[in-house]
């Protein structure tokens, strides 16, 4: 086991309402609003912050390099230390973990992690082009660079390998859009049926418009602190119990066809004929979960986690991720949603916020947004922040946030625990 470092807590958070386009303010003001919400929600002043981490994905959307320092400047955090962290869709998760490391190492007592993305500067199809530049631009992008296309191929293989159905994919969409009805920060709340999802325009077979998340403008801020500072600032901080990160090959084509990376609740004989990860599973997600579970002493994730916010950019990736996280065995992700295990009142609430599918996916903000929603869940303050108690997971004590990039190239898993 690596050196664990000092205990790290989350003491406050803020999120802007995610929306397709909010031209009335730029990214700096958007972060400022989330930041001020976080400072006001706990006993924190600007001078308490020792430094920060900036989380944003693409320089193309804003055509502005060093956007991070512009936020640092606007928030009044100069000349304190800061850096940008970037890793595609997992940018937020990676930045959050970098903030954890700033505290765990003893370098900072209080660290602000701010995430943002302004995707409305270009139209949706240009936006898809920018995102597709996060695939290999020599070999994958020119063939027809389109992330929904890549995920569609993974979904088709998952369906072939395990018998997953399009109705099961649709159920993820129904659950997440439905949860979002009670989340005032969410971009696309909706009450849907399987027919709604299947009859919505096909984007890349088998994924329809309602199987895919949307472009979004948004910002989110998480304030992390050392144990001493955390209890000065808040009577209800949340412990960051452990972090895990995994990676995989840039090109989907290069994924090995080998053996499953096993979790403690699995054995080799569970997967005699499975070629892993292939293109049906995310080895980086499994690797991240394994490291995080080891750090938190979790051996049976389904029993030991109460709530999960995971990276559901596609309905298919939520089902794939149930398996990577070991909530069920590989191949059982479809039945897992069928049996309602990931529903708000199921065995483990997955994406009670509505996830990226319904909350929106302003890339650099998404992973921080998950941290904020999880923080409120574990504080049992959902009612205070959402003005609605519906999504509060009863008895939520321990949660996992999961952020995911590319075709599963960088994946983070972070375990958070209530202490009160």
């Amino acid at each position: 086991m690596k050196h664990k470092g000092h205990n790290v807590y989350m003491v406050s958070g803020g999120v802007t309402k995610f929306a397709k386009s909010t031209p009335e303010m730029d990214f700096r003001l958007r972060v400022k609003k989330a930041f001020d919400y976080a400072l006001n929600d706990a006993n924190i002043s600007l001078s308490d912050i020792d430094g920060s981490v900036a989380s944003y994905f693409s320089d193309h959307f804003q055509r502005q390099l060093m956007s991070g320092i512009m936020v640092q400047d606007y928030l009044g955090l100069t000349p304190k230390p800061s850096k940008r962290v970037e890793g595609g869709g997992a940018t937020g998760g990676l930045a959050f973990q970098t903030g954890v490391q700033e505290i765990a190492s003893g370098r900072m007592d209080v660290c602000a992690v701010y995430g943002f993305e302004t995707m409305s500067h270009v139209n949706t199809w240009k936006g898809n082009e920018f995102i597709a530049l996060a695939s290999d631009t020599n070999f994958d992008y020119p063939v027809g660079g389109f992330y929904t296309g890549y995920y569609a191929m993974m979904a088709v293989r998952h369906m072939h390998e395990f018998g997953t159905t399009v109705e099961q994919l649709a159920k993820v969409s129904i659950k997440n859009h439905g949860n979002a009805i009670h989340n005032p920060y969410a971009q696309s709340p909706a009450k849907l049926t399987i027919d709604d999802v299947r009859n919505s325009p096909m984007v890349a077979y088998p994924l329809t418009r309602l199987d895919v998340c949307t472009m979004s403008d948004g910002a989110a801020v998480a304030i992390l602190a050392s144990e001493e500072k955390a209890f000065e600032m808040s009577d209800n901080p949340v412990l960051i119990k452990s972090i895990g990160t995994g990676t995989d090959t840039m090109r989907l084509s290069d994924r090995p066809l080998g053996k499953v990376t096993l979790l403690p609740n699995e054995k080799e004989s569970d997967y005699r004929n499975l070629k892993y990860p292939g293109v049906h599973s995310f080895r980086a997600g499994r690797t991240a979960a394994k490291e995080a579970y080891e750090g938190a002493g979790i051996t049976d994730p389904l029993e030991e986690l109460d709530v999960i916010e995971l990276h559901d950019a596609y309905t298919s990736s939520e089902i794939q991720t149930y398996e990577d996280l070991g909530l069920c065995k590989y191949g059982e992700g479809g039945p897992f949603i069928d049996e309602g295990k990931s529903e708000l009142n199921g065995k483990v609430a997955v994406n009670p916020s509505g996830g990226l599918l319904a909350s929106g996916h302003p890339v650099g903000a998404s992973g921080i947004m998950q941290g904020v929603f999880m923080f409120w869940q574990l504080q049992h303050t959902i009612k205070k922040h959402f003005k609605d108690d519906t999504l509060q997971v009863k008895n939520a004590k321990r949660g996992l946030i999961h952020s995911h990039a590319g075709t599963g190239t960088y994946v983070t898993a972070t375990i958070m625990e209530a202490v009160k």
Partner: protein, 161 residues
């Protein structure tokens, strides 16, 4: 001395496209040509012009890649070029009905991942000559090559066998 208190910036005929005044939203254009090198992968693109699909084979551990890569991800050793079979099978597929702006005019188009006998990894490509309903996992496909090379991975594509 060149102090001139009547100096003016030159006025031009060009203007700015305005989408909205409140907030002020304007059009901002950006375009660039890159001088892009394929570096150690150059041979892959050159070979497509000779109707050859080249993969990589690890000199040390023998792992075979259906994609070009100079060094082996399994052991870190150097690879050598070797010619892939012209025929393979569909490992997975999709049909894109929408796409990135650059490819929107080509929709709908098929993306497939090809598996080759005796090769340890896959190859991503376009499949032409089949609709979504025609494609099946395991279906045999054959590589074809563009006559007029563009030095792009789409110089090779697949058709049903």
């Amino acid at each position: 001395m060149t102090i001139n208190r009547d100096a003016k910036m030159p006025e031009t005929q060009s203007g700015t496209e305005v989408y909205s005044f409140d907030p002020l939203v304007v059009k901002s254009h950006y375009e660039i040509d890159y001088i892009h090198s394929y570096g150690q992968d150059s041979e892959f693109f050159r070979a497509l012009g000779k109707k050859k699909l080249m993969g990589s084979k690890c000199k040390k551990c023998g792992y075979t890649y259906a994609t070009p890569r100079g060094h082996c991800m399994m052991c870190g050793s150097e690879t050598e070029w070797y010619q892939l079979p012209n025929e393979g099978r569909i490992h997975t597929f999709t049909t894109c009905y929408f796409g990135s702006e650059e490819f929107l005019s080509e929709t709908p188009f098929n993306l497939i991942m090809v598996e080759f006998d005796g090769v340890d990894s896959l190859f991503m490509s376009r499949l032409v000559g089949a609709d979504q309903e025609d494609m099946k996992i395991g279906m045999k496909v054959k590589a074809k090559f563009r006559r007029n090379q563009k030095f792009s991975p789409t110089d090779v594509y697949f058709v049903p066998l």
